[in-house]
Assembly symmetry: C2
Homo-oligomer: 122 residues x 2
């Protein structure tokens, strides 16, 4: 029986409102790769306008700019992450990775009863 | 400036599909309190039909029943959590609580740069 229980952890950062999460993190990674907000959005199957809105809303809540760019224009302009964006993205990625490691160990401890239950059914 | 960055962690359990998360956990707590699926749903501002669907879908993925009940009828019947439901709810709550403790400490470590940045702005 392949019915393995596992946990997915998602991390969202808030100030007074939501400002950073898996969506903006992925968007920033793609911008870093594609050097373009438009191409990054396309690569995620996201509308350019939505990517733009997510970015602006995150910048507003965080209190700093995420992109050095000539956004707009025919090709959506070029885009590069600011130093602040690199710092928060790195912190977020490390935070999620370390949390996941701890979460996986804790999961085995807390949910062993479920595994035993499933095993006894087989 | 009150712009304190913090993290919200959400935990969702999966087998082959999503089977448990904050919504069903809250619903089970409310059922335990109200001894009724209908009253529990109302207390959360949730349609009875939605509560029912969430419950059935969670039971299907987990592979066990969550409620001992006479669901349906004029008042939605009485409802009590099964022993399995109590076990998974307790495990989920403990898991989330311990994870949160670790996450808060880790947050201070990983995001101290942001706090310093904000402080220097003041």
């Amino acid at each position: 029986m392949d019915n393995k229980l596992h946990a997915n952890i998602s991390v969202r950062l808030f100030t007074d409102e939501k400002c950073f999460g898996p969506g903006i993190a992925l968007l920033l990674h793609r911008i870093n790769e594609h050097k373009s907000l438009r191409s990054a959005a396309i690569s995620m199957g996201m509308a350019y306008s939505k990517a733009w809105t997510i970015l602006k809303s995150s910048e507003k809540s965080l209190g700093f700019k995420l992109l050095n760019s000539t956004i707009g224009g025919k090709n959506g302009g070029g885009a590069m992450l600011t130093e602040d964006a690199k710092a928060i993205l790195a912190a977020y990625d490390e935070y999620c990775a370390e949390l996941k490691k701890y979460a996986d160990k804790l999961f085995d401890k807390k949910f062993s009863f479920y595994k035993e239950k499933q095993d006894s059914k087989e």
